[in-house]
């Protein structure tokens, strides 16, 4: 499904914002799990959502808020552990949760977001709104019990949930082939009586189309869908983790980086639609924005113990008095 001119440029911008945001992380504060290579999957899915739709994410948490359209500055400040960070510097790189855009948790417990997204779906159904809930998770997460329990519940109750698997082929060093009885995660949907769809995760508009169909179904009361986007992580599992073994071929990485870069692919699409100049303007704007974000993060103060205390409870009781804070 083709995005119109403005939406296609917004889609390109968001993808590029993820890429540039993470390149800035590598350059300035190398922590965390990068989504570089997976931008089309993330943004394609988010383009099908409204601002008030819910999203849950993962330890690979940078792309989801950016994909949903979040402001980069508080996100970057969070990476730097600053008080101006979206989570006051308490959550950090694996937890860039911007609730103003419907994000309700980036779970660093693999699979932990699946029940949360399902619960948001339940909430929508009980409160009778027409929102939907979209759950990002990885191929590795699909082996957690929460995957099974969540998808089944959503199917029984016909909840408006889109289960969106970013299948990047690996969980740390473990390939899908070595950890899944069969490699197509979408094929598991049938066991729950739910549609399962495989989509090219490097093609933003293909992802958008698949997600739009699932969103339409969900909003119409048709229940959940499982979407599997086949994608690839260009970098290592995490900036901070040394990997002492070779678990994927260099040629494989080179192939995806070269021929399957979602940003290059989408740039070509825009070029083909005569939008090269506009795309260049987007690129300039994103570069500027990223610099601003880094500067903002650098200039921001660190959180204090009081910020931490203030974030613990809505309704503190005997707290912080009895907490034993030195």
């Amino acid at each position: 499904m083709e995005l119109d001119r403005d939406r296609s440029l917004e889609c390109y911008s968001r993808m590029l914002r993820i890429r540039k945001f993470e390149e800035a992380i590598i350059a300035h504060h190398p922590v965390g799990h990068l989504s570089i290579g997976q931008e089309a999957a993330i943004v394609g899915a988010c383009m099908a959502l409204r601002d008030d739709d819910y999203v849950t994410g993962t330890h690979r948490s940078h792309g989801h808020p950016i994909g949903k359209g979040a402001d980069l500055l508080p996100l970057m400040a969070e990476i730097f552990g600053k008080r101006t960070g979206i989570c006051k510097g308490l959550g950090g790189s694996m937890h860039l949760t911007d609730t103003s855009l419907g994000l309700i948790g980036e779970s660093a417990i693999v699979g932990g977001g699946l029940p949360l997204a399902t619960g948001a779906g339940l909430s929508i159904q009980v409160r009778k709104t027409d929102q939907v809930s979209l759950c990002f998770f990885g191929d590795g997460a699909s082996n957690e019990g929460t995957f099974h329990e969540s998808l089944n519940m959503a199917a029984v109750w016909k909840l408006p949930v889109i289960y969106f698997c970013e299948n990047n082929g690996y969980a740390v060093t473990t390939s899908v082939e070595k950890s899944h009885g069969q490699p197509d995660i979408a094929r598991r949907a049938d066991g729950y009586g739910m549609p399962g769809v495989i989509v090219d995760g490097q093609d933003a508009e293909a992802v958008f189309a698949a997600t739009m169909a699932a969103v339409a179904r969900a909003r119409a009361g048709g229940g959940p869908t499982l979407i599997e986007a086949k994608t690839y992580r260009f970098d290592e599992h995490s900036n901070r983790l040394a990997i002492p073994i070779k678990y994927r071929e260099e040629e494989e990485v080179a192939h995806w980086r070269g021929a399957r870069d979602p940003i290059a692919l989408y740039r070509a699409v825009l070029d083909g639609r005569g939008l090269a100049a506009e795309a260049e303007a987007v690129e300039a704007a994103v570069a500027k924005l990223t610099d601003e974000a880094v500067q903002f993060a650098k200039d921001s103060p660190e959180p204090e113990m009081q910020d931490l205390i203030d974030s613990m409870y809505v309704n503190p009781i005997h707290f912080p008095a009895d907490a034993g804070i030195a």
Binding site: Y54, T56, G85, I86, C87, K88, G89, L90, G91, H95, T97, T99, I104, G105, S107, I109, G112, L114, P115, L116, A117, T118, G119, A120, G121, L122, S123, I124, Q125, V126, R127, S133, G145, T146, H148, E149, S150, N152, M153, V156, W157, D307, L308, D310, S311, M312, Y313, V314, N315, I317, H318, F319, D322, A323
Partner: protein
């Protein structure tokens, strides 16, 4: 309706608390397995199945669903039924419910209640009979209550539903059938974090909670006949604990016996003892006594099972060791 009461069992009081809170706020829902079997069948007469969710056997999943619903406008009560199933759900409670507000710098709140019932002295053997009170005491961000009578059960459950933080609610099946006059006032709540002196006394402090309160009170009456005047403090809330009430009782009596149905090691009793020896050492005149279940599993055989849990006799004996 103020000041009027109604004779209710502990379990009926819990169901009444549901009914009142579900009437008051349409965002309150109940989730769990076979809801009707666990006492709440009468709610189906009044409320829609949309708010009374019979769940598949997916404890981790549906507890997490409760968390997600709590994040997005509902106030779910998740009934895990038997407390021995709490382990299955513990990740969503500890890593999500208790942490999400903090980890998002206060952006989110999790108004969730998780119920579970300790199923001991019921001949169901070790996989059903745990009293895992201590399991989540170490997790910041959670509140944990464990009422000992129908009024407290009703008032604490209502307080829990109204609280914007996650609350773990332990019921005690040995109390389910116990009847009492319970306030019918729909705004009757028992504050979380407040212990209750269930019997005033001056010679020794007995700290108890949930199913250990009734035998503690019986023991106290028996001791009274021997001229020993025991104060019985019902903790009611395990976290955040009402240290003040415990410490001021010990300040008065100088002697402390703690009664806890959980296993001895790492028990609630251990925490109470630690707080007291740290903060009221100078008032303490005798060794603190923990009267607990021993560190062995619960057997099926009823006669043996019964021997594991504190009784008026073992409580009385512990008091006699220190007075």
């Amino acid at each position: 309706m103020l000041n009027s009461t109604q004779k209710l069992s502990y379990l009926q009081a819990i169901v009444e608390a549901h009914r009142e809170e579900m009437r008051r706020d349409e965002n309150v829902i109940l989730m769990g397995e076979d809801i009707a079997v666990y006492g709440a069948q009468s709610l189906f007469d009044e409320f829609d199945e949309s708010r009374l969710r019979n769940c598949p056997l997916s404890e981790l999943g549906f507890t997490g669903v409760g968390v997600g619903a709590a994040l997005t406008g509902l106030r779910p009560i998740v009934d895990l039924t038997i407390a021995s199933f709490l382990y299955l759900a513990s990740d969503q409670i500890i890593n999500q419910a208790a942490k999400l507000r903090f980890m998002t710098g206060g952006q989110l709140k999790v108004p969730l209640v998780v119920r579970c019932s300790t199923f001991y002295n019921n001949r169901t053997a070790a996989q059903h009979a745990d009293r895992p009170y201590p399991l989540m005491m170490n997790t910041p961000g959670l509140k944990i209550v464990a009422p000992s009578c129908a009024s407290d059960a009703k008032g604490l459950l209502k307080a829990a539903v109204r609280d914007d933080d996650p609350v773990l609610f332990f019921e005690d099946i040995t109390l389910w059938g116990k009847k009492e006059d319970v306030p019918v006032d729909e705004d009757f709540v028992v504050p979380i974090g407040k212990a209750d002196v269930k019997r005033a006394g001056k010679d020794v402090t007995i700290v108890a909670f949930a199913g250990t309160v009734p035998p503690a009170l019986v023991a106290a009456e028996a001791l009274a006949k021997e001229g020993i005047d025991a104060e019985v403090v019902d903790l009611r809330t395990l976290v955040p604990m009402d240290k003040e009430t415990v410490l001021s009782s010990v300040a008065k009596t100088g002697k402390l016996v703690i009664v806890d149905n959980s296993h001895r090691v790492g028990s609630v009793a251990s925490e109470v003892a630690a707080v007291v020896v740290e903060e009221a050492f100078d008032s303490l005149r005798k060794p603190i006594q923990r009267v607990t279940a021993p560190a062995v599993h619960v057997p099926y055989n009823a006669r043996l099972e019964k021997q594991l849990f504190p009784t008026k006799e073992t409580i009385g004996a512990a008091v006699l060791r220190v007075v």
